[in-house]
Amino acid sequence: MNRREPLKSAIEELLDDVDGVLALRSTSGHVAPHLFCGRQELEELAVSPKYSLPATLRLIQAAHPEARLGIVCRGCEERGLIEMAKRNQINLDLVTVIGLACTPEEAEECRCAKPYPSVLVETHVGERAEPVVDQLVEELRQKDVAQRMEFWRKHFDRCIKCYACRNACPQCFCPECTLEEGLWVETGEVPPTYPTFHLIRAMHTAGKCVGCRECELSCPAGIPLTTLYALIREDVREMFGYEPGADLDQQPPLVLPVEVES
């Protein structure tokens, strides 16, 4: 179904109330994030492929903290916004969200468990698609310890340490990244010595990763990072009852004390 036209009308309407709307723009045949400030620019509005718009929102809000902004969010982007807001990286009071549902093909490509936003949205464009079960995660679960080691060894040995996974992640905002610390990740070593780089990153995504797949999509080596992060996400849900991006009130579990029966 055509999402571009309803999206264009929704943004046009929103432009009356905000200083700019963050969405995708197509120029020279390629699509990139863009801050639309006027109606005439909307002729070049695009709907896909997806980029990490929350990360761009943070960039703009840091420079213009008082600006009222709109943003077009898919399911994963909305989850990303919620997690960023909890960590004081974004001020949601000044943000209006236009929801965009992913098509079944897009949901399939991203193996997404919730390909539509529902928490922050005021307007919603597109029909909600069915959640998709992640086959790669199931396959990994079936392997035994030695097979898993072989699987990850084969993948991690192709890592060129480009930091794309860290750069593309909407949740990675630390000014001093642990992965750039010489103590844990030596400079000049490619691939990074097994297994520190990737397992540190995996640990840091616990309680934060919303499953947007930007890391995996940006990886030049095609490492299936999100299979590992998806398993951790399930564990965090099982152990602490916490789902990243599900609601604004739940606090991230790893910074809270344990509930102890006294």
Partner: protein, 135 residues
């Protein structure tokens, strides 16, 4: 004969005095363990544990205070959560999670310290040397 190399991170206020007590009480425990004193078990980050494995430790033992006894109030709470998640991460990456263990040992529990260390050494002895796993 290969003996496993175990690194134990013991916190200053509870588990290290506990280890000390084991020593002064002349309780024998496994000589394979290398004890490193840290200020609080909360200081033991996942990065540190992973680096320890990479440097050749076959097993890592993290020792802290019982809940409510932590000198820094909630340091041990953080450790508990982190180690639980890290064990799962190790499991999914093909590293046996039994190589990492978290125990609460108080300053008066010298015998318990020895028991934990001995048990853990035996568990790790059954596994392959870490060097071979990471080679």
């Amino acid at each position: 004969m290969w003996g496993p190399q175990i690194v134990a991170y013991a916190c200053t206020y509870c588990s290290y005095p506990g280890a000390d007590l084991a020593g002064t009480s002349r309780i024998k425990y496994s000589p394979n363990v290398n004890i490193i004193r840290v200020l609080c078990s909360g200081r033991v980050s996942p990065e540190l544990i992973l680096r320890t494995f990479r440097e050749g430790a076959d097993g890592v033992l993290v020792l802290g205070c019982h809940y409510g006894d932590c000198h820094f109030i909630s340091g041990n709470h953080r450790t508990a959560k982190r180690v639980a998640v890290l064990k799962r991460v190790l499991e999914y990456s093909g590293i046996d999670p039994n190589r990492l263990r978290l125990e609460w040992v108080s300053a008066s529990e010298g015998a318990r310290f020895a028991q934990v260390v001995d048990e853990f050494t035996e568990t790790v002895r059954q596994l392959e040397p870490m060097e071979r796993v990471l080679a």
